[in-house]
């Protein structure tokens, strides 16, 4: 027995990340039990987010106004740019509330296996901004995995040729982390990045 509208909804939900067939069906049943208004609000929120949110033309972050609130905020420092791989990384950084410079979203990381080379990333735009904005420091905040590190090294080399200071965010034991359960790579980074106290 297949009730078509339920099956269709469940199969669409099952395409979302982290939602298997069983959870998709459970969510579909929940939606059936929602008020008609509640279901409409959820559907509208999906359409709205998809249609109104775009990439900022300057930094590439998610925004519903262009340029984004960060790029057009005159109180933020223009001489420092934090380079991240994905648009969502900007929101993660902003949650910290301690960084008051600009951002630049690469739109991915170098990945020769997947055919992503330097020209697929927003590297030229970054170099252009560095020159035009009079940037004095670029903080590279790609993830500490193989591709993130390779992307970081590649970009750092190019930028340093322009005489601009390049830094990398620190990697080490997370706050609340326990030495016993930390992987060797993180421990290595923690020792390597040790600082005088």
């Amino acid at each position: 027995m297949g009730i078509e509208p339920i099956q269709t909804l469940a199969s669409r939900l099952a395409r979302l990340p982290g939602i298997g067939n069983k959870s998709a069906l459970r969510l579909a049943y929940h939606i059936l039990d929602m008020s008609e208004d509640g279901a409409k609000e959820l559907a509208d929120a999906i359409i709205n987010a998809r249609s109104k949110v775009q990439a900022c033309k300057i930094c590439g972050a998610y925004t519903d106004v262009d340029p984004c609130a960060i790029c057009s905020d005159k109180s933020r420092r223009k001489d420092i740019i934090c380079v991240v791989a994905e648009a969502k990384d900007v929101l993660a950084m902003e949650k910290m509330r301690e960084y008051h410079g600009q951002y630049h979203v690469l739109g991915g990381v170098l990945s020769p296996m997947n055919g992503i080379g330097p020209s697929e990333l927003r590297i030229d735009e970054l170099l252009k901004r560095i020159k035009e904005q009079g940037v004095s420091e670029v903080i590279i905040a790609t993830n500490p995995d193989v591709e993130g590190e390779a992307t970081s090294s590649y970009i750092a080399r190019i930028i340093k040729q322009n005489g601009v200071r390049v830094t990398r965010i620190a990697h080490g034991i997370p706050i609340g982390g326990n030495l016993e359960y930390i992987d060797e790579m993180t421990l290595f980074k923690a020792i390597e990045g040790r600082r005088e106290i």
Copy 2:
């Protein structure tokens, strides 16, 4: 920094069962990365399911035609009714493919703490169907928890007064289950329901 359409979508998604704030945000980002068509299909599926799926007027199961496919299937036995608590339980039973009788959805279980008494459940409709359809057996398939058992006993007592056979689905060790890890209540049910081999 709050990008309103993303925040709204994430907060709507976080109202779904089993989806916390972090997963909701992750799903929202995924939806931003979907094609415009993909996002529209998901939104439409939600609206469609909510508006087209209703409760069958006879049995109370989810359906997009009324009466539902099961109630109007002439090849199914009319003299046997399986009583379940929720509409979704019908779909779970049907997956088994071995039951060819009718269903009756109660719309919940007796729960005095939550103000759900016999009149809040579709018990009168069940008694009416039993009389009008010439039912000879009622299988009670509410869940084996306190409320499900109480509901089962209550309904069984009423139906037996009408001279109709009432049965309860078996409870015991699930297939693939391991004695070592089974809770005492299930073990007790398994012993209590033991059969000659």
